[in-house]
C-alpha cells in the first residue's frame, strides 16, 4: 500500500510538476477544447469575414454618415450613462454600506435586478412607462420632456443596465476603508467634507474606474433594453448593435461583421485602457503610502 502510494505520487508529479493534485492534463484539454469550440472559432469568424472586404468597401462602410452617427450615439450616450451611473452608484453604495435603515436589505437585493431581468422585459417596461401615455412619461410630458423614442430614452436604458456595476464595485471598496483612518483625520481636525474628499475618494477611485469601465462596456453592447425605447430613427437614435442587426437582416454579412469587429475592439480597448490606468493608480498609491 505504502509503495503504491509513493509510485503514484512520483507519477503524478512527473505530469504536473507543480502540484500533487490530479487532473492537470484532462482539465486543461477539456477547457481548451470547449473554449475553442464555443468562443475562439466563432469569434475568429468576425476577423475572417471582415478581412474578406476590400479596402474601398471597408472605407465606404465606415465613412457612411449613418454608421458614423450610430457610433457617435453609442459611444456618446454610453459614456454619459457611465458618468451618471458613477454619481448615483456611489451614493447608493455609500448609503448601503454606511447607513442602517429599514428596507436596506431589499434595496441591496434590488440593485441586481437589471442583471437578472431579460433585456426584452426591461425594454418594453421602460418604453411603456416613459412613453407619452405612460405613468412617468405623461407626467414628464407636462414639462415638455420627452423620454421615449428620443436619445434621452436610450440614455435611461443604458443607465438602467449600467449603474449596478458601479454599486457592486463601490460597496466592497467602501467596506475595506478602515475606520481608523477616518477617525485619525477627524481627530486631526478635518471636517467631514475634507475627510470624504481627501481620505475616502482617493481610495475609492480604482473601484469607481472599474465600475465605470464595466458599465460603459455593457452599455456599448446593449441591445434588448434599448431598442424598444429608442425609436430607432437613423442618424438620431440608432445604436451600433441595432445597425449590426439591420445589416444582418439585409444579408450584408461582411458589413455586419466589420461593424461588430470595430465595436468589439473598441470595448476591449476601453477595458484594457481602464485596466492599465488601474495599475498605474495602484503603483502611485503604493508609492505615496510608502513615502508617507
Amino acid at each position: 500500500m505504502k509503495g503504491d502510494c509513493l509510485t503514484k505520487f512520483i507519477y503524478v508529479n512527473k505530469y504536473s510538476k507543480r502540484s500533487v493534485i490530479a487532473g492537470f492534463l484532462p482539465t486543461l484539454s477539456m477547457t481548451l477544447f470547449y473554449l475553442t469550440l464555443i468562443v475562439f472559432i466563432p469569434l475568429s469568424g468576425l476577423l475572417f469575414n471582415t478581412l474578406q472586404m476590400n479596402t474601398s468597401q471597408f472605407l465606404s462602410l465606415v465613412s457612411s454618415p449613418r454608421v458614423q452617427a450610430a457610433f457617435k450615439i453609442s459611444f456618446g450616450l454610453s459614456l454619459m450613462a457611465g458618468a451618471i451611473s458613477i454619481f448615483f452608484g456611489t451614493i447608493i453604495g455609500w448609503v448601503l454600506t454606511r447607513y442602517r435603515f429599514p428596507g436596506r436589505r431589499v434595496l441591496d437585493a434590488i440593485i441586481d435586478l437589471p442583471f437578472a431581468m431579460p433585456t426584452s422585459v426591461s425594454g418594453i417596461t421602460l418604453a411603456a412607462l416613459y412613453s407619452e401615455q405612460g405613468w412617468i412619461g405623461s407626467y414628464l410630458n407636462q414639462f415638455g420632456i420627452k423620454v421615449a423614442f428620443t436619445p434621452l430614452g436610450i440614455l435611461l436604458a443604458l443607465i438602467f443596465v449600467g449603474f449596478p456595476f458601479v454599486v457592486r464595485a463601490v460597496q466592497p471598496a467602501l467596506e475595506e476603508i478602515e475606520p481608523e483612518v477616518e477617525e485619525a483625520a477627524a481627530c486631526l481636525g478635518a471636517t467631514r467634507g475634507q475627510t470624504v474628499r481627501k481620505i475616502i475618494m482617493p481610495q475609492l477611485t480604482p473601484a469607481l474606474l472599474t465600475g465605470f469601465a464595466l458599465a460603459v462596456a455593457r452599455a456599448l453592447g446593449e441591445y434588448g433594453s434599448v431598442i424598444f425605447i429608442a425609436g430607432n430613427i437613423p442618424m438620431v437614435s440608432e445604436i451600433v448593435p441595432l445597425l449590426i442587426v439591420i445589416k444582418l437582416e439585409q444579408f450584408d454579412y461582411l458589413g455586419a461583421s466589420a461593424l461588430a469587429l470595430l465595436m468589439l475592439l473598441a470595448s476591449l480597448g476601453l477595458l484594457l485602457f481602464i485596466n492599465v490606468l488601474h495599475m498605474l493608480l495602484r503603483i502611485s498609491y503604493a508609492k505615496t503610502s510608502s513615502a508617507a
Binding site: 441586481d112 442583471f115 460597496q171 449590426i244
Partner: protein, 279 residues
C-alpha cells in the same frame, strides 16, 4: 460589519438626503418599472392573464426556453467545474490569458454573440450548407439558439468557483491524496462539499441568464412563432403586435423568475455569511 464610531457619523440631514436620492433614483429606474410589469399584466384581470399564458405560442415558447436551459446549464456546470479546477489548482504559463478568455463573453455584445454563429453557419458557408443539406440547420433553428446561449452563459459558473477554490487552497486535497484517495474521489468527497454553495449560486445565475437571454438568441433564431421563439423573444413579438397585456403577462413570468433568482442569491449570501459581489 462594524458600527461606525460616533465621530464618523455623517450629519443627519446628509443621511436623509442621500437615502432620499437613492430611493428616488431606484424608484424611477427599478422599483416602479418592476411594479408596473405586474400591474399591466393583470390590467384586464386574472382570466385574461391566464389566457395569455396558455396560448399555443406562449406554451411552445415556455417549452423551448426550458429545453434550451436544460441543455445549457448542465454543460456549463461541467465546464465550470473543470475550468475552475484547472485555474485554481495549477499554475502554468498562459493561465492569466486563459482567465481572460473565460471572461471574454461577458464583454461581447449579445448581438455579436449571435452574429458570430450566423457568420459560421449561414447557408453561404460550406459548413452551414453541409448542415442544411443533411437536414440539420443550425441557425434559425434550435441548435443555433443553444450555441448562442452557451456562448453568453459560459463564464457564470466558472467565475463563481475560481475565487472560492483559490480561497480554500490545496491543503485538504493534498491530504486526501496522501491518504490514498483517487482524484475523482478527492473531488467528490473533499472539494465538492466545500464549494456546493458557490456552485449553486453560479448555477442560479447561469439558469437566469439562459432563460432570459434576448439579444444573442434573437439574432440566431429567425423568430419562427411556435418553433424558435423563446420566452424573451415571445415578449418582443407580442409587444410589437400591440398585444400589450399579453406581452406583460409573459414578461411577468420572466420577472417572477428574476425575482426568485435574486431572493435565492440573497439567501445563499446570508447562508454562507459571505458578501458576494457580481462584477
Amino acid at each position: 460589519m462594524r458600527k461606525p464610531p460616533l465621530l464618523l457619523k455623517d450629519p443627519v440631514w446628509m443621511k436623509i438626503l442621500l437615502i432620499l436620492i437613492s430611493f428616488s433614483f431606484l424608484s424611477l429606474i427599478v422599483i416602479i418599472p418592476l411594479l408596473s410589469i405586474f400591474l399591466q399584466a393583470f390590467a384586464e384581470g386574472w382570466q385574461s392573464y391566464l389566457r395569455a399564458l396558455s396560448t399555443f405560442e406562449t406554451i411552445s415558447a415556455i417549452k423551448l426556453s426550458l429545453l434550451v436551459t436544460m441543455i445549457v446549464v448542465p454543460i456549463n456546470i461541467l465546464f465550470g467545474l473543470v475550468a475552475s479546477w484547472l485555474i485554481s489548482k495549477f499554475s502554468f504559463p498562459g493561465r492569466q490569458l486563459l482567465i481572460a478568455s473565460i471572461d471574454l463573453p461577458l464583454s461581447v455584445s449579445p448581438v455579436i454573440a449571435g452574429l458570430i454563429f450566423v457568420l459560421l453557419f449561414n447557408s453561404q458557408t460550406t459548413l452551414g450548407h453541409w448542415f442544411i443539406e443533411n437536414g440539420f440547420p443550425i441557425i434559425y433553428a434550435i441548435p443555433g439558439i443553444v450555441l448562442a446561449t452557451l456562448f453568453v452563459t459560459s463564464p457564470y459558473v466558472v467565475r463563481e468557483l475560481i475565487p472560492l477554490l483559490q480561497q480554500l487552497g490545496n491543503d485538504e486535497e493534498e491530504a486526501a491524496h496522501l491518504l490514498g484517495a483517487s482524484g475523482l474521489r478527492t473531488f467528490m468527497r473533499v472539494t465538492l462539499p466545500n464549494i456546493k454553495w458557490g456552485l449553486l449560486y453560479g448555477t442560479i445565475l447561469c439558469t437566469a441568464r439562459a432563460l432570459g437571454e434576448f439579444g444573442a438568441v434573437s439574432v440566431v433564431s429567425g423568430n419562427i412563432q411556435g418553433l424558435t421563439n423563446t420566452l424573451p423573444l415571445h415578449v418582443e413579438v407580442l409587444y410589437n403586435e400591440y398585444k400589450f397585456t399579453q406581452a406583460f403577462a409573459v414578461a411577468s413570468l420572466l420577472t417572477f423568475i428574476a425575482v426568485v433568482t435574486l431572493t435565492l442569491k440573497t439567501v445563499i449570501e446570508l447562508k454562507t455569511g459571505k458578501i458576494q459581489r457580481a462584477g
